[in-house]
Amino acid sequence: MITVVEFNDFSWKYKASKDLVLKSINLKISQGEFIGIMGPTGAGKSTLCCCINGLIPLRTRGWIKGNVEVLGKNTRTAKMTELGQRIGLVFQDPETQFIMITVEDEIALGLETLGLDRVEIKNRIEWALKLVGLEGFEQKSPDELSGGQKQRVAIASIMAMRPEILILDEPTSDLDPIGKYEIIELLEKIRKEFDLTIILVSHRTEKIVQFCNRVILLDNGEIKFNGETSEFLKHEELLNKLGIYIPIHLSQNGISQYLKFSEQISKGKYVTTEQDPIIEISDLSFAYPNNTQALKDISLKIFNGEFIAIIGKNGSGKTTLIKHFNGLLRPQQGEIFINGNPVLQYSITQMAQIIGFCYQNPDHQLFKNTIREEIEFGLKNLKFPDDEIKNRYNEIIDLLDLRKFEEIYESTFYLSKGIRQRLALASVLVLKPEILIVDEPTTGQDYRMIQEFMKILQDLHEQKHTIIIITHDPRVIAQYSKTVIILDDGNLIQKLPTSEFLKNEELQKIAAYTLQ
């Protein structure tokens, strides 16, 4: 077997990092292998990928030791252009990978660099779009594409260049279930049709196990496991220690327990009083200025103390709906009541103390330099007295276990995504809202982080907060939510207990929900 990638005692430290990000990595990858790379957040998976395609060290400042040889070239001395044309790398965020204005131009971008003539470029564009199932999409702009479609275009633009190695760095984490499914199907197809070396970074153990013939497990910059997939799951203790999710149906006891989770939740300590709708919506309709009808005649009641998952395909209206709850959007038709009062009666400051909103990307809602300043930001805005600010700050920072990060990191800029997400939650919770809305709490997080974050929400729910989450994560829906609200194309399909939803395949299909 020809070795295509070889790490020789390789270590790397970014300019800004205090410690080594990769430590004495020794690794060989042979041609035609399908390698899965797993590990907790911050383990060094993305860094490893960038070392293979030459971004490190050719385009990144830092400190290096050892060598990486890829396709016979030492990455310290090779040319980025050559490596880039032979090794394809698909990133996590489908939005920022799209450079050009149309799909066709995006794919042609790399092909022009190869010096191909127009006829060949045209043929390859058609071929690549056919491969990813996007024939006829040549003239579409990125605004017209879903996340899954953008990601497929990214794969098409790389496959058109006929790479010898294909690396995919968490290609599905920002996608809805349909998008995830599309990418996984495509990978399956590529794997069967082409003799490529594929490297897949993912938190989804079931996919790694399904596709890969070898798994590399990273933690803290070191390889903890490097072996056949069949051996991988046997190391349950190691996997549990690193917070790697073992799919229920693949675990040693082999019993699917999702229904049991759901039934346990329904018998839990949560109190809901059906007589107190905390949010009431009546005949709500809303269209955006470009005439997209986002919501159509929605009537809904949300009761005090519920734990709800709002689910549906991309573009079904989930985010539009929740923005009406706190008055960020105004309905064109219909009414919304919060605690029995019309939502428009509340001022911005009043609303902030009733409804707390956590955005999907924590970077959108972290404004201050330090953890303390961030948590106190809302309280100072609302002119709370200093004593109250201090008390609430101490309460929240301990509740969300952020105190140790305050001591280690002088600025929020250096926090990992998972900790920033927790900080965003803290900054909202400190205002003690009755209702907490969280948009996609699990995107890009590893299994342990998801569990920790959801446990916090669960604890809050036990303290009688009403929790509403928008999520595509089937495990989170099954394990934590008590009720689901299903939206499709701006219509409310149904609100029902999660346990019933898990038994209804038709509704699951509408909501693009699957445990697979």
Partner: protein, 263 residues
């Protein structure tokens, strides 16, 4: 115009703008303005639609400032004095010639604004970039222009999201005092700058990962934008008009009076 080569469209804008500056007779400028508007109508650009009416009216109102600037500071002597005053060292003199000079400049600016508006509406981002590449503008420049266009819409969205996020934390924008508004905007700017750097890293990584160099002798161009007969006709016509305008400027005559003399 929409079927013209983007370089022809750029040339129309630039050359007519230069001509507008060469012309110093108000009647010539009015004719050029009419020609400009006819051009817009011929290109079937919906200048009378609600969206563009708002932009045009807004611009015309703002353009009044050009007229006012010339009236207040022009100090051109004339036959009729409409207004004169001294404020400190500032001598305000509004005469018939001041009004005439102010009108000329105002009409020039209006002509250039409409040319730019028609150009931007009638030319897609994509056409512009492909047009530039067809005349061998460096690839890096055209890619930067493409990313700038992407960035314009991306950051408008990001600004809205960040502002909303601040509102959910109780930040008032509408009813806040001016110092408070400035403080709030500073917070938004900081977030936008950080987001900009993060997007820079991601986009740059995406470009580098495809092995795209700044310059390459082997790079081909997929989109082919041939010049057509009408492009050549228009370009020749424009250059002829430009040369004629330069000639008229040198001999200090205007189109209209020359036309009247001849006929």
């Amino acid at each position: 115009m929409t079927k013209l080569h983007p370089i022809t469209r750029i040339s129309i804008v630039f050359i007519l703008s230069i001509i507008a500056f060469l012309l110093s007779n108000i009647f010539d400028l009015i004719i050029l303005l009419i020609f400009d508007l006819i051009l817009g109508i011929l290109t079937k650009i919906p200048i009378f639609s609600r969206k563009f009416r708002k932009i045009i009216i807004g611009f015309l109102i703002a353009n009044v400032s050009v007229f006012i600037a010339w009236c207040l500071f022009g100090k051109i002597s004339g036959k009729i004095i409409f207004f004169e005053a001294f404020i400190g060292n500032w001598h305000i003199l509004i005469t018939d010639q001041t009004i005439y000079g102010a009108s000329i400049v105002t009409i020039r600016v209006i002509i250039m604004f409409f040319l730019m508006l028609f150009f931007f509406i009638g030319t897609s981002d994509r056409d512009l970039i492909h047009g530039l590449r067809s005349i061998k503008v460096p690839f890096a420049v055209s890619l930067i222009i493409s990313i700038t266009f992407r960035g314009l819409s991306m950051f408008q969205q990001e600004y809205s999201i960040v502002k909303e996020a601040m509102m959910t934390r109780g930040v008032e924008f509408e009813h806040a005092s001016i110092p408070r508004k400035i403080y709030n905007f500073i917070q938004i700017f900081m977030v936008i700058i950080i987001l900009m750097f993060k997007k820079t890293e991601d986009m740059a990584a995406s470009i580098e990962s495809r092995g795209i160099p700044f310059r390459s002798k082997n790079r081909t161009t997929y989109h082919y934008f041939p010049f057509q007969k009408k492009d050549y006709t228009i370009l020749i016509g424009l250059f002829t008009l430009l040369l004629f305008s330069i000639y008229l400027t040198l001999i200090n005559k205007s189109f209209v009076f020359l036309f009247l003399e001849l006929f």
